[in-house]
């Protein structure tokens, strides 16, 4: 098993957390999210992001509203629901904890 094949599932699992973080910072539409992740280890595509956002919306973690744009059709702007904010806080806290565990163990 190559290193990459072990890293891919870690990134995949963390993508949802990062999307919640981005949406939690301010109301965004999909190209904003893609731009924010581009160039990072978590660079992703519409084909991945739209199904993920729709899952998060079904779980009542994010919601969107339509906003008119100067160019082209109206856009969906996403933001966190209260449940989404609570989950983001929990994930953030958990992430800090496992990060500490990972760096403490084996040293």
């Amino acid at each position: 098993m190559t290193t990459e094949s072990k890293l891919a599932p870690i990134r995949k699992g963390l993508l949802e957390f990062l999307v919640l973080k981005i949406v939690g910072a301010r109301s965004v539409y999909v190209p904003d999210i893609l731009r924010r992740l581009a160039g990072t280890e978590f660079a992703t595509q519409e084909g991945t992001l739209y199904p993920l956002l729709s899952k998060l919306r079904r779980e009542d973690l994010v919601q969107y509203e339509w906003q008119e744009s100067d160019a082209g059709p109206p856009r969906k702007y996403y933001r966190l629901t209260e449940a989404g904010q609570a989950q983001l806080a929990a994930l953030d806290e958990y992430w800090t904890r496992i990060n500490r565990t990972v760096s403490d163990i084996g040293t």
Binding site: P9, K12, Q45, E46, G47, Y50, P51, S54, K55, P73
Partner: protein, 191 residues
């Protein structure tokens, strides 16, 4: 010679596509629809993707209305990527059951031997319903059901124990006690 083109309405935008490009686009959307089959938001995600494709095509064709060629469409689809269903640990439960599922007895959580549980798992039915039917048949058949049950009990192989798998249905403690009582009264032959 006139170049064949197709007008396609992508969500809220209308675009002209060269025939080859249109076929490629239809193929991409078909595949996306297939990947999203069973997803309650399938239509909405497809609409989002169509809009993203349309926006990107517009962005690539700076000079007014024109026909999207295959060469112009390919990088757009490349950028959007194939549809990936969010998965990982909490993948949504698959409603479809595996096609080749053997008919077996399931002894975990069984009341007698696990025949009803096995049949329930095979057909995707509620165990309790099957047990009720079995008991009714027992009376209607005038004892013939006992023979059928015993035959199934002897013939059906046991499903391998799966430590990780949840039992089909947890039996309430009281009916477990009752089953124990019945077994102690009527001998260990059925246990």
């Amino acid at each position: 010679m006139q170049r064949l083109s197709v007008t396609a309405r992508l969500n809220r935008s209308t675009l002209q596509f060269e025939e080859a490009a249109y076929a490629r686009l239809a193929g991409y959307l078909d595949e996306a629809a297939l990947t999203l089959a069973g997803n309650p938001d399938q239509a909405e995600i497809l609409a989002d993707l169509e809009q993203a494709i349309a926006d990107k095509c517009h962005g690539r064709m700076a000079t007014g209305p024109a026909t999207v060629t295959l060469a112009e469409l390919e990088p757009v689809l490349e950028e959007i990527g194939s549809v990936q269903v969010p998965g990982g640990a909490q993948a949504e439960p698959q409603p479809t059951r595996p096609t080749t599922r053997p008919l077996q007895q399931v002894s975990e959580g069984a009341l007698i031997s696990g025949v009803c549980q096995g049949i329930a798992r095979y057909f995707g039915l509620d165990v309790t319903l099957l047990r009720v039917i079995a008991v009714l048949l027992l009376f209607v058949s005038g004892g013939g059901m006992i023979v059928v049950y015993l035959a199934l009990m002897l013939l059906l192989p046991f499903a391998p124990r799966q430590p990780g798998s949840e039992p089909i249905r947890t039996i309430p403690a009281r009916s477990r006690q009752f089953a124990g009582f019945v077994r102690s009264k009527f001998g260990a032959a059925t246990s």
